[in-house]
């Protein structure tokens, strides 16, 4: 089954799962539209009574208020329902994006900035929300209003009805003109905003470099460039936004003026317009009421416009090519007879032009300890990424216990691999969660025994809330993070331990701690490690050379 999703299918899904909400929303909108028609009709009767010298009964006056109150209440109902519906859409969309995240190939995360992806989740989804709440649904409501009022106007005065039919499309043409101009400005703005958003975390990440190299002004200048970009785009769309509504109101006045003049003329024209003074007052109110939703239609179009850019990006995100998901079959179980790791004539490169690995073959048997060596950039880490199934080889096979590495289901990985990365990736959560990675299968007991194994248990207990202390960069030293990384790797008792240049960046003493911890962690496991330095800590392990063997020793 192909999981091809677009924004459209996601939305259909959301609407389908909340039928009751959708139906109720529409019902409330229709009722609100209908009740809004009544007050001017009552007004007409009031004025007609007055012109003929009759009085107003208190019940007529009260019914005027009654309808206004009812239509006001229904309008609140409408607002609530629109919000509820919009939030359902937002929720559904974010869930869909999250699922998509799961299906994206690892390469996507290295070629796209985290801030920009997050901006798709946060800002672009918010625009889609406003596309619904302040856009499409409100537009539907306002469209209903316009049509219903036009019908009443036709009924009251054929001439004015035709006049309105003439003006409405003209207004729409104008609106579309504005629409196009604003769309491009809005798009420019969104692009700039995403740059602005990305610059802040980047600054925080690089703050020491900025201070040491005295680049505060440089970074500020970059930021100012981004906000100025956004400023110019916003200014452009503000200009159109500012003049649109005044033009509409002026047109409304023109319609009223023409109508009144025509109604005042004699003969056929008056016949055609055929209005009494009471009707004139009511119709002025109606004309006002038509232009109000027409004006908001303009605004709603603006909201939809600004959402288009966001929608485009969400659609692009959802359409990103997905990785081939590992088949979720239990049938294929790795055989114990097969070697635990096998590279079979593997060729791989991140792009078509440059091969990182060529014709690489090796076998690692269960329980063996192997070290990969090679020049910087020779592709040692790439070997690990292929092993972990993050990438597929272009040619040849990467087999784990006889199974293709990228066909291993995600949920089995943790029991197969413990991957100690070069640097520790801090996740948002407590210290215990740094080790368990929120895996429910890794209970507190396993977390603690992993921490004990790497010798961190006591330091963690010394923290204010022990294992439940929220983890932060400041809470641990560089070396302790390495230890935490090892604890994370071994917490679920994996069969294979992958060590990526584990003791880089450490001084000898800490290195000793880490190496001790590793020795304990390696017991009974297959261990694959990466090292730049041939002669260290190899202790008679098998060495596999990656790339040309010109390593200076």
């Amino acid at each position: 089954m192909k999981h091809k999703k677009s924004l459209g299918t996601v939305l259909r899904l959301v609407v389908a799962t909340s039928t009751a909400t959708s139906v109720f929303t529409i019902l409330v909108i229709v009722l609100a539209v209908i009740t809004a028609l009544f007050p001017p009709l009552i007004l007409e009767r009031v004025v007609n009574n007055l012109t003929t010298g009759r009085g107003i009964r208190i019940s007529l006056a009260l019914s005027y208020l009654g309808f206004i109150a009812l239509s006001g209440l229904l309008e609140s109902g409408q607002n609530v329902m629109i919000t509820v519906f919009g939030q359902k859409v937002t929720h559904g969309l974010r869930s869909a994006l999250c699922v998509k995240l799961h299906r994206l190939p690892a390469a996507y995360f290295t070629s796209h900035e985290a801030g920009k992806i997050a901006s798709c989740f946060v800002n672009d989804v918010d625009t889609v929300d406003s596309l619904f709440t302040d856009g499409i649904i409100s537009m539907f409501a306002d469209g209903c209003k316009v049509v219903s009022i036009l019908v009443v106007i036709f009924y009251k005065s054929t001439g004015l009805g035709f006049l309105m039919l003439l003006v409405t499309p003209l207004l729409f043409t104008m609106t579309r003109l504005f629409q196009k101009r604003m769309l491009s400005a809005q798009f420019e703005n969104r692009v700039a905003v995403s740059k602005v958003n990305n610059h802040v975390p980047e600054t925080i990440r690089n703050i020491r470099m900025i201070h040491v190299l005295l680049r505060e002004q440089y970074m500020e200048q970059r930021y100012d460039d981004y906000i100025s970009e956004s400023y110019r785009a916003t200014d452009k769309s503000n200009l159109y936004d500012s003049i649109y509504s005044p033009i509409v109101i002026f047109v409304r006045s023109c319609v009223i003026a023409v109508m009144m003049v025509c109604a005042a003329m004699g003969g056929g024209i008056r016949e055609f317009f055929g209005i009494s003074v009471g009707t004139a007052v009511a119709v002025i109110a109606y004309v006002g009421q038509v232009f109000e939703p027409l004006e908001s239609l303009g605004m709603e179009i603006q909201n939809i416009q600004s959402a288009v850019a966001g929608v485009k990006r969400i659609d692009e995100f959802l359409a990103e090519p997905e990785r081939e998901m590992p088949k979720n079959s239990n049938a294929k179980k790795g055989s114990d007879a097969a070697p635990i790791v096998r590279f079979d004539h593997v060729r791989f490169g991140y792009d078509d032009n440059n091969d990182v690995l060529q014709n690489l073959s090796f076998t690692v048997s269960r329980g063996e300890a192997v070290t990969f060596v090679g020049r910087t950039g020779a592709g040692k880490s790439t070997v690990f990424r292929l092993l972990l199934g993050l990438y597929r080889p272009l040619e040849g096979r990467v087999l784990i216990e006889g199974l293709g590495a990228s066909d291993i289901p995600d949920e089995k990985k943790r029991h197969l691999f413990g991957y100690v990365e070069q640097s520790f990736h801090l996740v948002e959560g407590t210290v215990a969660e740094q080790i368990s990675l929120f895996d429910p299968a890794v209970g507190r007991e396993q977390v603690e025994s992993a921490a004990k194994l790497v010798g961190l248990h006591d330091s963690i207990l010394a923290l204010p809330d022990g294992y439940d202390t929220p983890a932060s960069e400041a809470a641990f030293s560089q070396g302790q993070f390495q230890l935490l990384s090892i604890a994370r790797a071994v917490a679920a008792s994996p069969e294979i331990l992958l060590l990526d240049e584990i003791t880089a960046n450490l001084d000898s003493n800490t290195e000793c701690h880490v190496l001790d911890a590793l020795e304990r962690a390696a017991k009974g496991r297959t261990v694959l490690s990466i090292s730049h330095r041939l002669q260290e800590h190899v202790n008679g392990q098998r060495i596999i050379q990656i790339g040309a063997s010109d390593v200076a020793v």
Partner: protein, 585 residues
């Protein structure tokens, strides 16, 4: 208008500073806003007159030409009023746009000058929400406030005057309901703020979760944890949905209710106003007066219900502003620099202890001096010490004793002066998302080729499809660890000052590359003092001096002498040279 300039805001933690800066657009807004809003009454007035005129024509009192001239007058007045409106709308938006830019500019200025230590205490996700979302909300509130001062304040006054001039008793009676609407609005203000704050908090949590999910996606995948992270994300989403609905409910649904309360007055107008027209009321009215009065009142009731919206917008802005305010600091520019032009620059440490005052001092009694052209290797088995000394040079860790550079005491130098003398490179490559070349230049034009060659990166760069113009990605993700380290080193060399402090720059490199780079460094930095911290000792024999730190003490000597006299150093060195841990010296 000078809309290309971004202002440095004096007293940036006072909201009024931002209004003050925008005097020009605000004056424009004031003039056009008053004209427009006073002109607002023209609509109902003329529409009443038009109805009256139609009545008169029908009765035969007037001719069509009266209607034509009235309609023409009506149109020209509306045109003027709407032109004012367009001007006001644009003015307000320009004000908001300017303010948003100024606020972000100031916010960023204080961010970029924040110390690393302070920043680490701040949660990344929430700083982001603070900086971006809060400025937007705050400016939106300021814009609405400015708009509503005119669109509600001035227009209400205009309408009230109009109503009172027609029939003051009826005006008084019919407007009696409006204060109730205000009373309720004021009462519910707190509730609105409360739900809104809860919503904002939930949004912050959701943003943090999003950032975590996205930036650690590969880690979660490798550990097969993606599915349960998705489930946790779902919990955040549900919470956000719930709070967003609650906040919107309070904010959006109050307005029609206020309107209903205010419109109670309309019953009185219809009933008593009709009596005026029929000649049995307090005043004698024509049809025009009746319709104008009613239409004015209706518009006023609607406007006063907007007043509640104003409260909400201001309320929301206050919540956001309260969070931005502590981040707003006086603009920090470059410090003045007063450096004596001492050449050659010397570095002298005497009796230096480095460490935090509240903790135990990590290193004690370090003394040495260095001259340009020298490479000083610093090493030692001590658990934590080397990096601390390195950070002492850039003011991240305090020191006692004396460190003199170019004849000046280090701690007396401003941040700016210190950075003019000392360049530092830490463990993190700290790359920006731009091209490889820009990461080295950082805005300082110049030739980067020699520096790429110096760090043995020239060949690899040539092989990249876009060469030095290749974007490195966020944090340098598109480069390998070794490439990142070398780009960082090239950047440090390109921007190097008289003293170069390199904290373990070669840890991600193989030994051959390390040796080549060191040879290049010697040539490139022949007029500089290089202090190189490392736990790898292969290259130490080639260094001019070695500072050996052990057990809180230090020895400053040459490699040869240390090998002879210090068994700890000799053991450390030989262990590494012979490989493996357990060899005898």
């Amino acid at each position: 208008m000078s809309h290309q300039r971004i202002h440095k805001v004096p007293q940036p933690d006072h909201i009024w500073s931002y209004f003050r800066l925008e005097t020009r657009p605000l004056v424009l807004v004031t003039v056009s806003g008053i004209l427009y809003n006073v002109g607002m009454v023209a609509g109902p007035y003329f529409e009443g007159q038009l109805a009256q005129c139609l009545f008169d024509i029908m009765k035969g009192y007037k001719t069509v030409s009266a209607m034509v001239s009235l309609a023409a007058l009506y149109l020209s007045v509306i045109l003027f009023v709407q032109a004012m409106r367009a001007l006001k709308r644009f003015g307000v938006r320009r004000f908001a746009n300017d303010t948003s830019r100024n606020m972000r500019h100031m916010l960023y200025n204080s961010l970029v000058h924040m110390s690393r230590e302070k920043l680490e205490k701040e949660n990344l996700g929430s700083v982001m929400t603070k900086a971006v979302a809060d400025v937007d909300t705050c400016v939106e509130g300021m814009r609405k406030f400015t708009t509503e001062v005119f669109d509600t304040g001035v227009v209400l006054v205009a309408y009230t005057v109009m109503l009172f001039s027609y029939d003051w008793r009826l005006a008084l009676l019919s407007c009696a309901f409006t204060p109730f609407a205000y009373l309720i609005a004021g009462h519910l203000k707190g509730r609105v703020a409360q739900t809104n704050a809860a919503y904002k908090k939930s949004a912050g949590r959701l943003n943090g979760a999003t950032m975590d999910r996205v930036s650690n996606a590969v880690t979660y995948r490798v550990y097969g944890c993606e599915q349960n992270r998705d489930a946790a994300y779902e919990v955040r989403l549900s919470d956000y949905e719930k709070r967003a609905v609650a906040a919107n409910l309070w904010e959006n649904t109050m307005q029609p209710l206020y309107n209903i309360i205010s419109m109670c007055g309309a019953v009185l107008i219809l009933y008593l106003g009709a009596q005026n027209v029929l000649g049995t009321g307090w005043k004698s009215w024509d049809i025009a007066a009746f319709t104008t009065f009613l239409s004015c009142f209706t518009k006023m009731a609607l406007k006063s219900s907007h007043a509640a919206k104003l409260f909400n917008a201001v309320q929301k802005a206050q919540v956001s502003w309260a969070r931005i305010k502590p981040l707003m600091k006086e603009y920090i520019g470059l410090d003045s620099i007063s450096l004596p032009n001492v050449k050659p620059i010397e570095l002298i440490l005497s009796n230096v202890s480095v460490g935090w005052t509240d903790g135990e001092t990590v290193l004690k009694d370090i003394s040495f001096s260095a001259h340009p052209g020298q490479i000083i290797g610093v090493t030692g088995p001590v658990a934590c010490g080397k990096s601390t000394l390195g950070k002492g040079f850039i003011g991240e860790v305090p020191y006692c004793g004396s460190i003199r550079v170019a004849g000046r005491e280090l701690r007396e130098l401003s941040h700016c002066e210190r950075s003019q003398l000392i360049s530092y490179m830490g463990h993190e490559p700290e790359l920006i998302s731009d091209t490889l070349a820009e990461n080295i230049r950082l805005g300082e034009p110049g030739e980067i080729e020699p520096f790429l060659r110096a760090v043995c990166l020239d060949e690899e760069v040539r092989q990249m499809p876009q060469g030095a113009d290749t974007p490195v990605g966020s944090g340098g993700v598109r480069l390998s660890g070794g490439q990142q380290a070398r780009v960082a080193l090239a950047r440090t060399l390109y921007n190097s000052r008289s003293v170069l402090v390199l904290d373990d720059p070669f840890s991600a490199l193989d030994q051959g590359t390390e040796q080549t780079i060191l040879e290049n460094l010697r040539v490139l930095a022949k007029d500089k003092i290089v202090i190189l911290f490392s736990h790898r000792l292969y290259q130490f024999p080639t260094f001019d001096r070695v500072l050996f730190l052990y057990g809180g003490r230090s020895i400053f000597s040459t490699h040869e002498k240390l090998m002879q006299k210090n068994p700890d150093y000799a053991k450390l060195y030989l262990e590494q040279i012979n490989g493996g841990g357990g060899h005898e010296t």
